[in-house]
């Protein structure tokens, strides 16, 4: 048990969770209090003591599943158990059949029968049946072989391709119509749809979990945990985020902006004490018979900076630009004015899109679809875009303005026109450049971030939310 726990904690640390020694000890203490056969409570005991941040919960769950999913009720690790034994055991378990509906006899079913069983289970929301079906589906379609060095996603893909879940929705609709239990109103139909999506999603997760279980059994927990290790949301790189990760990023962004806004507002109010406010002090001294017992100070209210965001939204860096714009607009209360411009090789102002609606996501959508940013061929041309910016909006850049330039500075070997940035620097309060590329890629190939950067107040690497957050805090 001790070995298992220390392996588990080490893996959590590898996944990036900060687990301290005391927390580790607490966890040991906690699991002593929990009856070991209560799996859920066991998991929560570990979670409550080791994970102190809701965003890290998913990483914890994955590691937990890998380390404890297959262990019997006593959570003992049997080292001598080889894969072959395990496979037989799995099959035995399946034959014993959990759930109703004769799951034990599933091996002999044809694919059609299996599919109709699945459809029934989805329609009735029969969890046990769905679990049994997930097992059966993985066994039948994934074609897993012990020792084969293929990732879980491959097996998942194979299983899902055979199940054809996308068509399942329409089939279910069809079946319902046949049964004559089609909901009448739009609202009900929609709710019904949501419910089905939810169940199919659940089923997919069952399959994923099943595949992971089998892989763990095959390769051992440590190796598996390594392949499953995913970066925490704040460490996901903007430029290489998958669709799922993007979703998680978006979810992480909202609480982050709230935190950031609260922190900035606090910073603005506190920690600055000005010179003595003579008038106020004298007025208060009247309470004490003219003795200035209570000195009053002036609290300067520093002017909020004016912000101009100029962002490259060409393919490679679009996601980054989107996130920065979302972040900036979510905390726009901290700036006196925010104007935003987007470009590829042409440049367009998009401030109005954000003004027209309160909904940032919608504004971003309009930026992507409506902004006029293509001049010649739709490949990034920083030089031309900057020239246009300077020509049209240069006069608006003043001593209160902070200019943010976003992009990887991959200029496709066009003319750099870096004089624009130099001029900006002269006129503006600050000019910063944010680059979503890793620092080691800068100034390689057609990247000329160094040439632009030398005219700015600083070039910052912004590959993930953590870095972006740190920069924005510095800015306001």
């Amino acid at each position: 048990m001790l070995d298992l726990m220390s392996g588990f904690v080490a893996e959590l640390r590898n996944a990036g969770l900060p687990v301290s020694l005391t927390e580790n000890l607490d966890a040991m203490e906690a699991i002593k209090q929990i009856p070991l056969e209560d799996r859920e409570a066991f998991k929560w005991a570990l979670g409550a003591t080791l994970v102190k941040n809701a965003a890290h919960w998913r990483a914890f769950e994955t590691v937990f599943e890998v380390y404890f999913s297959l262990r019997g009720p006593e959570y003992a690790l049997k080292d001598d158990e080889d894969a072959g034994d395990f496979w037989r055991e799995m099959q035995d378990q399946m034959r014993q059949g959990e759930g109703k509906g004769g799951a034990g006899a599933m091996d002999s079913l044809t694919q059609e029968e299996l599919m109709s069983l699945l459809m029934r289970a989805l329609m009735d929301g029969d969890q046990a049946m769905m679990r049994a079906l997930a097992k059966q589906a993985v066994q039948r379609f994934a074609g897993m072989e012990p020792g084969r060095p293929v990732g879980g996603t491959y097996y998942l893909y194979r299983t899902l391709r055979n199940l054809d879940l996308d068509n399942m929705m329409s089939k279910i609709d069809q079946a319902k119509a046949d049964d004559g239990q089609m909901p009448q109103t739009d609202l009900e139909r929609r709710l019904e749809n949501d419910e089905m999506h939810h169940r199919i999603e659940q089923f997919k997760q069952e399959i994923e979990a099943e595949i992971r279980r089998r892989l763990v059994a095959d390769r051992g927990a440590e190796a598996m945990a390594k392949t499953l290790r995913k970066p925490l949301p704040e460490d996901v790189e903007f430029m290489h985020a998958s669709r799922d990760e993007m979703q998680n990023l978006k979810k992480a962004l909202y609480p982050l902006t709230r935190k950031l806004a609260a922190r900035l507002a606090r910073k603005r109010r506190h920690g600055r004490k000005g010179p003595l406010d003579f008038r106020n002090t004298v007025r208060h001294s009247l309470n004490y018979g003219g003795v200035p017992a209570e000195p009053k100070f002036k609290y300067p209210r520093p002017a909020k900076p004016e912000l101009m965001v100029v962002a490259d939204i060409s393919g490679s860096v679009a996601a980054f630009a989107r996130f920065t714009l979302m972040l900036v607009y979510a905390i726009q209360g901290q700036f006196s004015k925010v104007r935003s411009f987007v470009f590829i090789d042409g440049l367009d102002e998009v401030t109005d899109y954000f003004k027209a609606t309160e909904d940032i996501t919608e504004a971003i959508h309009r930026v992507n679809t409506e902004a006029d940013v293509v001049w010649v061929d739709g490949h990034s041309d920083y030089g031309h875009a900057f020239e246009v910016f300077w020509e049209r909006y240069g006069k608006d850049v003043g001593p209160k303005t902070t200019v943010l330039l976003l992009g990887d500075a991959r200029n496709n070997y066009h003319a750099a026109q870096s004089w624009v940035v130099r001029e900006m620097k002269h006129r503006a309060r600050h000019v910063y450049w944010l680059n979503p590329e890793p620092r080691s890629y800068w100034n390689t190939g057609d990247s000329i971030v160094g040439e632009y950067g030398s005219h700015t107040d600083g070039v910052y690497e912004c590959r993930n939310l953590r870095q972006l957050e740190a920069f924005v805090e510095k800015l306001a």
């Binding site: 209090q33 859920e40 409550a48 109103t185 419910e195 606090r266």
Partner: protein
Amino acid sequence: MGNRFDSVQAVRDGLKKVNYLADDGIASVAFLADRLGKPVLVEGPAGTGKTQLAKSIADLTGARLIRLQCYEGLDESKALYEWNYKKQLLRIQADKNSDSWSEVHDDIFSEEFLLTRPLLEAIRADDPVVLLIDEVDRVEVETEALLLEILSEYQVSIPELGTITAKQIPLVFLTSNNTRELSEALKRRCLYLHVDYPDMDREKEIVLAKVEGITEHLADQIARIVRSIRQLDLKKAPSVSETIDWARTLMLLGIEHIDAEQAKETLHILLKYQTDIAKAAKELSSDK
């Protein structure tokens, strides 16, 4: 350490009796908090029953609830203790002639002149108490340090009096809306519990338990609609308390079965931003 609960299941059943429907996580962590004698830090979106959890636990264990509401600028004189200086002054003046200075000095820093504030009160209580430190993320980082001694040792040090140790270890709940990252030191001393929006079935049960006379059918519909709305990309998703308010409203209006029109008309109870309402209304009337 305490033994208020026999098992995780006992916590769960007990909470159900006082009308709080806990899921596995909540019940397990509450159980552990008692067994390990550690405070619980409860985090999660607003309106998911964080504060209610502490109240219900107090209810369940028959303990007195002592609540410290945190806000910016909270200091030790409001959280821990304060010397009753007016009384001290009176004492000095009353005895101007008779006592020597050292006697007075010893006297005015005795318990008689101590004003206890929530934290100290919880420590000194003879009867069982549940201490609720609400919205701890509102205090400044520096003020957090005030809590550390209490949370790890269950004691308060008063320079003039010495250290006051707890007679019995109270159950302590801290809630946070996550508007800022709490310090590592604080987190390390606590068990952590993240309370999220409940899943559909649990929400339905909550509605059934909290709203009297509601039909199963209506509760089911409400839970489904709320789930659909939460899936939208909103500024502020509806909280559990808002769901309950909505259910009550529908009951008052005498609605047995919600259709799209009625849902749209009462959406402002679930959602508080105009853009959110518009978006949800649009989504509800169109099917995917």
